[in-house]
């Protein structure tokens, strides 16, 4: 190693000057922080102050690590860079939680999150102090090492008498107390500390870059030369990758990566600047890219500097000093001094922030709760502030003592990693608590204890062995010779690397402990309830010496006075606002709101006090002072707010639903009222209950005149009310009816209409009423009549031709007979001639009668008839003719009656026609006619089958045409009349016939005419 370049007194003077400068920057920062904020520069102060992540451990230690094990240290900086993408979610959540609850440290966070368990905060503080004090000592040692390296002899006077490490420690303590310990409230922006630390971050970055450039381009001929020479070396070339000489580079890389992701937030200094001192959430977005950029830049020259030292023949074991030794070897005094200052700034920044953060943590979780518990000589705010400052001072002095007393000369990196792994043990409890509602205090304690036990076993024991405190056989053979218990290869996991082994086992057991503890340990609230039953704790109403059994709660003024006594004037305004708010609400007579606010009072006051004296102490202060226990108040307020939220949601949902239903009703009403058809609702007794505008127009009646009236009277009917009965029966029995009716208007006129009825069902499926829609068919009927007229005209010619054809023969007979009579008989018998004339006239009379029958308007007289009886009656009338021809006629019918609403005479006429045709078509002697009646869906089918020759396709097509016949006798109107009569009943006639297989004529009649179909009556 090169010899010292400077006198100790000179270096001390420079250090003092630097510290004074730092003090000045801090002072300016404290005073002008608002101005910085106004210009938006606090964003950069925030990011650069987070650069306190890079301490002298980075400045010196990483170079030493790179010289010995290669680039695995980079994972400590790449880890946070990779996970920076999630900061907007994770860091922001952390910031919001801490801001909401005025949390100022990780133990406070755990105390608040896990229900105010006092010993959880104390335990966490103890572990954090144990894990962090060596790290503070590391910074002081780095200062001492670099001081020893650069300044050989202390010179004379004061410099020789003063321990530079102590001097620095004392100055940093003063700085921390002045800027970090000014207020008890830690949530206030600490402009002085932040500005000074941010400035130091810039200083160390610039100096490290300058030193790197000096090594690469001042000492060597660029990075190319350094790397080419290192790659040419058989051992050193392994340091360019993760396959370093010690092996297991990837295990270490992954371990570093994992702890860095957690520690970038949870290291006390990081938590303080990144979370507690976050003044604006949007700063996180800047930090998301700027902080990784800072980390990248600060690491840019670390590997070249490490390799440069090796190339210059410096021992790898002294790698921590390479950055200082290289410029000294090169004889560059200015660069050497600059590098010393860079390392010094990295160390001081860390010591200041860590001592402030740890000191406050110790004060809030150990000292102040202890004072409040003892209550001896306690006089409030001033003592608490003094206790906080004393804690900060104690932390720095503890670090100094540790550095002085520990003779073990471990590498800086080694000490730093031990602290890193220790702090990472809070990761599962903190992040698990934020993202898993099931996490409990039991789980947090179990996880942290398991993690720290594993950390102690796998990290501290090997370090102790290395320092010579323990027998090396523990590492080689395991305790008691059990190889599976070897601390560096626990349970034979084969991770290889010591750090990888420690990180894996500590975090794994921590996580298992956290989850298992959360799931298995009885939740605190349940335990408190149980303990409450057993303890002699005074009940609500007996607090504050209420000996008479009545409640003597302190007044709002008393509460304000007590809280202000603890939090000082710092919180006077906030406490005053809370009290004033309740008072105002009370004065307005809003009793309910006042009660709620008063219930909230403990929660709000706890938050205010937490920022000043920590969660544990805040709870202790408020516990005996308020009419309601803090936990109960929290539960009550949370439950109430939840209920309020639920009610609001329910109200909102109901209101939305109501609006939706009303909108639908309006739409439906508008549709119903705007359509032209008449819509009428009526009850089971036929009383009209509602009508639409279309009904009023259609029936020419006022709405008031219709409501309450008889629905059936809207249908014009015969005196026997046949149609009304049809509609009523079908609607009430089957639930629906559709058919044509005559609409009876209010002015006495009537019009054809189509009516459809339906049953309105209620929830239980019963009839809640009926609805009928009426359509005016006047126009349609007029059109239909026109069409019928034109069809009639068209068929008239055809009919006239048929009539002429039929009449011509008898007319010819008459003509000839009259001529014979005119000629005097012509020798013929006059009586015979007259007989011929008579026959011709009779024949013409039959033709004319049938024609009249066919063309005449038919009115049906409907009633319930048994169709079996009608069928048998029709067959009875044809038995003589059938017998004469030798044709047997048989009937097949169901056992009971087949009733239907029909005109019995007309149906008999239909059946007579059809059966007669069948008898005529059947062969003589062995002819058979079978009439089958069967009930079908909603009606009756009467099928008449004969065993005659059947019909051709052409004949089938013409069978219903008037005056078509294939018989020697007959006019050809029979089947036309059958079709017309059946259709008038709403039924249908079908003919199935084929050559040689007889003919089947099927007559389908509905049980109720026109139910579900259209038709005329």
């Amino acid at each position: 190693m090169p010899g010292p370049l400077f006198e100790g007194s000179f270096v001390l003077a420079v250090v003092t000057g630097y510290l004074l400068l730092l003090f000045g920057i801090g002072y300016l920062g404290e005073r002008k922080f608002d101005a910085l904020r106004a210009r938006g520069l606090d964003r950069y102060v925030y990011v650069f102050s987070a650069g306190v992540y890079c301490t002298s451990w980075t400045f010196f230690g990483c170079i030493g690590n790179a010289a010995q094990t290669g680039p695995s240290f980079l994972a400590l900086f790449i880890g946070p860079s990779v996970f920076a993408l999630s900061w907007w979610t994770v860091l922001r959540k952390l910031v919001r939680f801490c801001r909401t609850h005025n949390v100022t440290s990780v133990p406070d966070l755990l105390s608040v999150r896990y229900g105010g368990t006092p010993w959880l905060g104390a335990l966490a503080t103890l572990f954090l102090v144990i894990g962090s004090v060596p790290y503070i000592s590391l910074q002081l040692r780095a200062v001492a090492i670099s001081y020893d390296t650069i300044a050989g002899s202390p010179g004379g006077g004061v410099a020789a008498a003063v321990d530079p490490m102590l001097l620095v420690a004392l100055f940093l303590a003063a700085f921390a107390l002045f800027f970090g310990g000014r207020y008890l409230d830690f949530t206030r922006p600490q402009g002085g500390v932040l500005t000074a630390v941010a400035t130091e971050s810039v200083i160390k970055l610039v100096i490290l870059l300058a030193a790197g450039a000096f090594v690469c381009y001042g000492v060597f001929d660029g990075m190319g030369e350094i790397y080419s020479r290192v790659l040419a070396h058989p051992e050193w070339k392994k340091l360019t990758g993760l396959s370093d000489p010690s092996g297991n580079g990837y295990a270490r890389w992954t371990a570093y990566f994992a702890i860095a992701v957690i520690d970038v937030f949870l290291l006390p200094r990081q938590f303080h600047v990144f979370v507690v001192q976050n003044g604006d959430e949007s700063h996180i977005k800047t930090a998301m890219w700027m902080f990784p950029l800072y980390l990248l830049l600060i690491n840019l020259f670390i590997i070249p500097i490490a390799f440069g030292g090796l190339l210059l023949g410096l021992p790898a074991a002294a790698g921590d000093k390479f950055i200082l030794a290289i410029p000294m070897l090169a004889g560059n005094r200015a660069m050497s001094l600059l590098v010393f200052l860079g390392g010094f700034s990295a160390a001081t920044a860390m010591v200041v922030v860590s001592s402030v953060a740890l000191g406050k943590m110790v004060a809030n979780n150990l000292v102040i709760p202890g004072i409040l518990w003892a209550r001896k000589g306690f006089h409030g705010y001033g003592y608490l502030l003094a206790a906080t400052r004393a804690s900060m001072l104690a932390v720095i002095l503890l670090g100094y003592l540790y550095a002085r007393l520990m003779s073990y000369n471990a590498a800086l990196m080694e000490i730093g990693i031990i602290s890193f792994v220790a702090v990472a043990q809070f990761g599962p409890a903190v992040f698990g608590g934020l993202y898993w509602k099931g996490g409990t205090a039991g789980g947090a304690v179990l996880g942290i204890c398991a993690g720290f036990a594993a950390w102690f076993y796998t990290m501290i024991l090997p370090a102790a062995v290395k320092a010579g405190f323990l027998d090396p056989a523990i590492l080689a053979d395991g305790p008691f010779g059990i190889a599976l218990l070897r601390p560096t290869d626990f349970l034979g996991a084969g991770i290889g690397d010591t750090v990888g082994n420690a990180v894996f086992w500590s975090l794994f057991l921590n996580l298992i402990g956290f989850v298992a503890g959360s799931l298995l340990v009885v939740p605190r609230r349940a335990r408190v309830r149980e303990e409450g039953r057993r303890s002699d704790a005074p009940e609500i109403g007996q607090r504050n010496g209420a000996k008479d059994g009545g409640a003597h709660y302190p007044s709002l003024e008393d509460i304000e006075a007590v809280v202000t006594r603890y939090a000082g004037r710092e919180k006077e305004r906030e406490v005053g606002e809370v009290i004033r708010e309740i008072r105002e609400i009370k004065s307005r007579g809003e009793t309910r709101e006042a009660v709620i606010r008063q219930m909230e009072l403990p929660v709000r006051l706890e938050r205010i006090l937490t920022g000043s004296i920590g969660a544990i102490a805040a709870r202790n202060v408020l516990r005996d002072m308020l009419p309601i226990a803090l936990a109960d108040a929290k539960t009550l307020v949370a439950s109430f707010r939840e209920m309020e939220k639920d009610l609001a949601t329910t109200r909102e949902t109901v209101s939305h639903k109501e609006e939706e239903i009303l909108a639908r009703e309006r739409l439906l009403a508008s549709v119903v009222h705007s359509i032209d058809d008449g819509i009428v609702t009526f009850d089971a007794k036929g009383r009209i209950t509602a009508v639409n505008e279309g009904s009023c127009r259609l029936f020419r009646r006022a709405e008031s005149a219709m409501i309450g009236g008889d629905f059936h009277l809207l249908i014009r009917d015969t005196p026997y009310r046949e149609k009304q009965r049809i509609v009523a029966r079908a609607t009430y029995r089957t639930g629906r009816w559709r058919g044509e009716v005559d609409i009876m208007r209010g002015d006495g006129t009537h019009a054809p209409g189509l009516v459809s009825t339906a049953r309105i069902t209620d929830k239980g499926g019963g009839a809640a009423g009926f609805v009928a829609s009426f359509k005016d068919l006047t126009e349609l009927k007029a059109m239909q009549n026109k069409m019928i007229q034109s069809e009639k005209l068209a068929s008239l010619g055809q009919m006239a031709a048929g009539v002429a054809h039929e009449i011509r023969t008898p007319l010819g007979s008459i003509k000839m007979s009259t001529r014979l009579l005119g000629d005097g008989g012509g020798g013929a018998d006059a009586a015979e001639v007259i007989g011929t004339i008579r026959e011709a006239v009779t024949s013409m009379e039959v033709i004319v009668n049938e024609l009249l029958e066919y063309t005449r308007e038919i009115a049906l007289h409907l009633d319930e008839y048994d169709l079996v009886k009608i069928t048998r009656s029709a067959i009875f009338g044809l038995e003589e003719e059938a017998g004469r021809k030798g044709v047997s006629v048989s009937v097949s019918a169901p056992p009971g009656p087949c009733t239907a609403l029909v005109d019995g005479i007309r149906v008999k006429q239909v059946l007579t026609n059809v059966v007669k045709n069948a008898v005529e078509a059947a062969p003589d002697r062995d002819g058979k006619v079978i009439v089958t009646l069967s009930e079908r869906d909603g009606g009756v089918r009467i099928a008449v089958r004969d065993n005659g020759p059947g019909m051709t396709g052409e004949e089938l097509g013409k069978v219903f045409q008037p005056f078509y016949t294939n018989k020697a006798q007959g006019v050809g109107l029979g089947m036309s009349i059958v079709k017309r009569l059946v259709e008038l009943h709403g039924g249908e006639v079908r003919i199935d016939s084929g050559g040689g297989r007889g003919t089947t004529v099927s007559v389908d009649l509905p049980r109720y005419p026109f139910a579900g179909t259209g038709g005329t009556q």
């Binding site: 680039p71 980079l74 990779v82 993408l85 979610t89 190319g224 396959s243 998301m288 990248l296």
Partner: protein, 62 residues
């Protein structure tokens, strides 16, 4: 990007680039512009990552 998605993306990024075995691809006795492949690759990916973070945060601000 949602919180859960962001954390998943980070883990994927770590697994895809900054972890074994994929990182082992860079761990070869070769150089890039005179710099050993491992540090060159790591710093290159790191720089790209920083730029991506910058772009993402700018887009978030807009």
């Amino acid at each position: 990007m949602g919180g859960e998605a962001a954390v998943k993306a980070c883990i994927l990024l770590f697994l895809a680039i900054f972890s074994w075995p994929l990182l082992g691809v860079l761990d070869l006795p070769a150089t890039f512009l005179g710099v050993p492949l491992f540090p060159a690759g790591v710093f290159l990916f790191w720089a790209v990552l920083v730029y991506a973070l910058y772009a993402a945060s700018r887009r978030g601000q807009e």
